[in-house]
């Protein structure tokens, strides 16, 4: 177009005194923002191409580069912000639906940041986790409601299949296709070393990763990509994905360009074809239909594996969760509106769904009120950013948390939010071989292990401060939480008191 309405969002700032023209920035930028100009004998750049992913900044050996947000301004106001103006320009230019990646970035309240944790003082002793045992092992699955005995009075083992986690964290679903082979390998190896689970996402399981099956959750989504009997039996649990936090009610679309030979084989679809996940499961229009799928999957896996049902946190989440608990599912996974994605329509991502904190509190309360809390485990995701968020989630009633954005960050993601372009400079959200190889799983898996181990240490430290020595005693222990700056209604939904009460 002859007239470009948009000024670059970021500016590349180069300290020419430090730049040695080694050209690593040029070689490493898949967006081709940098190049060497022999006429001027120096490195030059095009700010318009920069997505602020920091690949060049991180690799620059002399730290000659930084990226700044452009201070160029529109004549904006509180109603017509620069964002609103730019989006209108973009749509007027393209005629298309706006696409975005990663989670909802809008300034809605983050309830984790409005909840404070308790600690022991005088009347109850705190515990030093370095000197005393501290338990973070978590079992996910249905808990028995009664003790059954045989005719000799011996207890019959009526425990449904469980997932055992060394710490209440799992890597949540990211499909092979949306992320790279090396990212998947990193997640799988980290899950194995940590004694937790990673999730295949809806893209099937690459044949090389069947060996990590004991630490794998295999997902069945509306597109049913890569689902077979072997696949269902390869993992430790099966997850039915109804929705995801970033785009509740919306399906998925992996462009054909990303469906390489390996991916087509793994997803069991023709090479180069678009992989379209329908918005609904076309065989699920009710809880009764869901029950049929839950039991079909249990039948296919010989009732040996827990079945997870994953939903996005939406307005009626408590009632829906109650239905899921009655459908035979062993675990409910709820994904909040901050949950990430490789691509979602911007309007959906930024306006649909509810915060995970409120969804979790209302689901946990509802299941307790109905006396069915023990018939399912509750796993939450959708922007668990730190061990503090995780501890608060457990205290609000979650059994464990799913992390994916944090896991991507650990592998090098810089939240540039342009996954949909397929040019991930960090080798995560891309299928281009020269980019995929930038993520060496030996490095990636170690960083994931480090992250989860660090969180586990922090969880133990926080629990110790509260005088709690087992994660079981923290679960649903909302007395350990106090709200700050929250309204009566918010406190009532969260089921917590205000600080000072």
């Amino acid at each position: 177009m002859a007239v470009n309405y948009l000024y670059p969002e970021y500016e590349i700032v180069r300290d020419t005194n430090k730049c040695i023209a080694c050209r690593v920035c040029e070689r490493q930028c898949a967006n081709e923002a940098h190049w060497f100009d022999p006429e001027q004998d120096k490195m030059v750049c095009d700010n318009a191409k920069c997505v602020c992913c920091h690949r060049c900044v991180s690799l620059c050996p002399t730290k000659a580069l930084k990226i700044v947000k452009s201070d160029h301004t529109f004549r904006e106001n509180a109603n017509w912000t620069a964002k609103n103006i730019k989006e209108v320009y973009r749509q007027a230019g393209s005629g298309g639906v706006l696409l975005s990646s990663m989670g909802n970035p809008e300034p809605y309240p983050v309830y984790w940041d409005k909840i404070l944790l308790n600690a022991s003082q005088v009347t109850n002793p705190s515990i030093d986790p370095l000197r005393e045992p501290m338990e973070t092992v978590t079992y996910l699955g249905k808990k028995p409601t009664k003790i059954e005995r045989d005719k000799n009075g011996k207890i019959i083992n009526n425990l449904a299949p469980q997932l055992k986690l060394s710490t209440p964290v799992m890597f949540s679903a990211m499909s092979y296709g949306s992320i790279s082979y090396n990212a998947h390998e990193s997640l799988a190896r980290a899950a194995e070393e940590l004694g937790i689970y990673y999730n295949t996402g809806e893209g099937g399981l690459h044949e090389d990763f069947y060996k990590y099956g004991a630490n794998t959750i295999v997902q069945v989504a509306s597109g049913r990509f890569g689902v077979s009997k072997d696949y269902l039996n390869a993992g430790a649990a099966i997850e039915i994905k109804i929705g995801q936090g970033a785009k509740p009610g919306i399906g998925g679309h992996l462009p054909g360009i990303k469906v390489s030979e390996d991916i087509s084989k793994t997803r069991m679809i023709p090479l180069g074809t678009d992989a379209i996940s329908p918005a609904p499961h076309h065989d699920i229009y009710s809880i009764e239909d869901l029950r049929q799928l839950v039991y079909s999957l249990k039948e296919a896996s010989d009732y040996k594996k827990p079945v997870i049902v994953k939903i996005a946190a939406v307005h009626n989440v408590a009632a829906i969760a109650s239905g899921i608990a009655r459908s035979g599912a062993d675990i409910i996974a709820i994904d909040g509106y901050r949950g990430g994605t490789g691509a979602a329509p911007t309007r959906i991502r930024d306006n649909v769904g509810i915060p995970i904190e409120l969804a979790l509190a209302s689901v946990d309360s509802r299941l307790r009120e109905e006396g069915i809390r023990d018939s399912v485990a509750v796993v939450v995701g959708g922007s668990i950013r730190s061990s503090a968020d995780l501890v608060k989630a457990i205290a609000l009633g979650a059994d464990a948390c799913y992390i994916a954005t944090a896991a991507c960050l650990a592998m090098g993601c810089h939240l540039c939010r342009s996954c949909q372009a397929g040019r991930c400079n960090w080798g995560i959200a891309t299928q281009r071989p020269e980019l995929v190889k930038r993520l060496n799983p030996d490095v990636g898996y170690k960083r994931l292990v480090n992250l989860v181990r660090a969180w586990d240490h922090e969880i133990k430290e926080i629990m110790g401060g509260m005088g709690i020595n087992s994660i079981e005693s923290l679960r649903g222990n909302r007395l350990m939480l106090r709200g700050i700056g929250l309204s009566e209604k918010e406190l009532a939904i969260l089921g917590i008191k205000h600080a000072g009460e």
Partner: protein
């Protein structure tokens, strides 16, 4: 002996190893000061192909042809490390011609050669190329 090995699967062809090598052997304490406006002459070189890249530096061969061919005894092998004595080198370049890996090259002066000595003679401590490789494509290990 620990040697430098290259895993071409992970080499990105970013050439950072060359710059870290040049800096380590520059004797300067600041990379920009050492390399700004300089055409580097590193002891490790990245060979690039269409789909494959790898960095090559002295293999520290067990039976080194360069040491055998050196006419002045400037190249010697001790405990597996092939080291170079500039004072003895006459710049005949016989070693350059005999090295099958192309890992010995003329130094800047043109009167002597240079080669990787595993950063044993500079302040780096451990091979700078290994330390600076962003993808662990170059490793320093016992095999």
């Amino acid at each position: 002996m620990k040697r430098i090995y290259v895993n071409e699967k992970w080499c990105l062809g970013c050439h950072l190893c060359e710059y870290y090598c040049a800096f380590a052997n520059s004797g300067k304490d600041d990379m920009a000061k050492a390399l700004k406006g300089v055409k580097i002459n590193p002891r490790i070189r990245v060979e690039e192909g269409e789909k494959i890249n790898f960095a090559v530096s002295c293999r520290h061969c067990e039976e080194p042809l360069c040491v055998k061919s050196c006419i002045t005894g400037a190249l010697t092998i001790k405990d597996g490390l092939i080291s170079f004595n500039k004072d003895k080198c006459v710049g005949c370049y016989t070693c350059i011609m005999s090295c099958p890996y192309g890992c010995i090259m003329p130094d800047g002066s043109g009167h002597a050669v240079q080669k990787c000595e595993l950063c044993t003679k500079n302040a780096c401590g451990e091979p700078a190329c290994v330390k600076g490789c962003p993808n662990q494509a170059i490793v320093f290990e016992e095999r």
